[in-house]
Symmetry: C2
Subunit: 202 residues, 2 copies
């Protein structure tokens, strides 16, 4: 039902809205902002996304798909758990370098004001995310590539919390470089036993 031109416009709307949500939050951007960014009238936006809730749901759905795809591509690479985790950390780092917050981290802050369906989709993002991480952590531990105490699931939660928080605090404190320090700390924590840096492999 949507021809090529329509699909392209919808995507451009999603691109603009995504950037706005990730930098300003769901309540701090308007159809007027998207209108300016895309070069289309406000009313026309409603043709593609009838309500702001519809737009929000489409944004989160697309973001989740994109994130899952990125996770799959991480698994397509090296099988070493530490490398996979490093690429996972970099997934967040690349978002921050665009001066954006993780979309679902941002929406987590806005959660009290979101339509219920959006809240559920945001919760699913975290669930999917943590499930993938827990699997990678578990496999890595079984292969002896990484070490950690407690369950893989709780370690996965810890990773996600620390990375989301590192993005948040980096933005709030104005020191984006702090994200990388947190990322390195997180990886060091699973790499060896309380790693003092080693000159050469064990």
């Amino acid at each position: 039902m949507t021809n090529r031109r329509d699909a392209r416009t919808a995507d451009r709307i999603l691109d603009a809205a995504e950037r706005l949500v990730q930098t300003r939050g769901f309540n701090a951007f308007s159809y007027a902002d998207v209108s300016k960014a895309v070069g289309i009238q406000k009313a026309s936006l409603h043709h593609h996304f009838a309500t702001k809730t519809d737009l929000g749901l489409a944004l989160v759905a697309r973001y989740r798909r994109g994130f899952l795809e990125a996770l799959r591509s991480i698994e397509a690479g090296s099988g070493e758990a530490v490398e996979r985790l490093a690429r996972y950390v970099e997934l967040y780092g690349s978002v921050l370098r665009q001066k954006r917050m993780c979309m679902c981290g941002m929406l987590a802050a806005d959660v009290a004001t979101l339509p219920k369906a959006m809240r559920q989709s945001v919760a699913s993002f975290f669930a999917e995310n943590e499930a993938w991480l827990a699997r990678v952590l578990d496999e890595g531990k079984l292969r002896g590539e990484i070490r950690f105490d407690g369950s893989a699931v709780s370690m996965a939660d810890f990773f996600v919390s620390s990375l989301e928080g590192a993005m948040l605090v980096a933005r709030g404190s104005g020191k984006l470089e702090h994200f990388d320090a947190v990322g390195r700390h997180l990886l060091a924590g699973v790499r060896g036993a309380r790693a003092r840096p080693r000159r050469r492999p064990g």
Copy 2:
């Protein structure tokens, strides 16, 4: 210039606005919301805080004072570093149990839309916070009460990031209990060497 009654009203306004900011964010509450909560007309609010920016600045200033006071009271207690850190974690936990986000964590999400003066005050919150934590970590390490790799400052950043993120993700995923798991993980990480739980002290 402000009599007792005035001061009390200003405090009640700050209390209501604080709750709203911590649950909804700075852009998602209005003078109308505060008006309802306090039981005073919207226009009267402007007598106490002429603009929303003024209100926001007063909120962050008060929050910073309160937080620093809480930090001082933590230092008044036991000198054991682990206990101080546990009480520090609990400072965040008690906020989350009220279904609130750390005010400055919330404002960190809103940072792109905040007046510059508010942004600076939010950045100062994180700086003060991390300076205090770094001192506690440093002293604890010197006394041999805790262990960690890297500088006290980077460990302090890691603590703050993880705790802010744990609050954010707990709210976003709807699983408030995940905060406590992160808090425990953080404390376990400094308590001993890759601590398997010990039955009795060393």
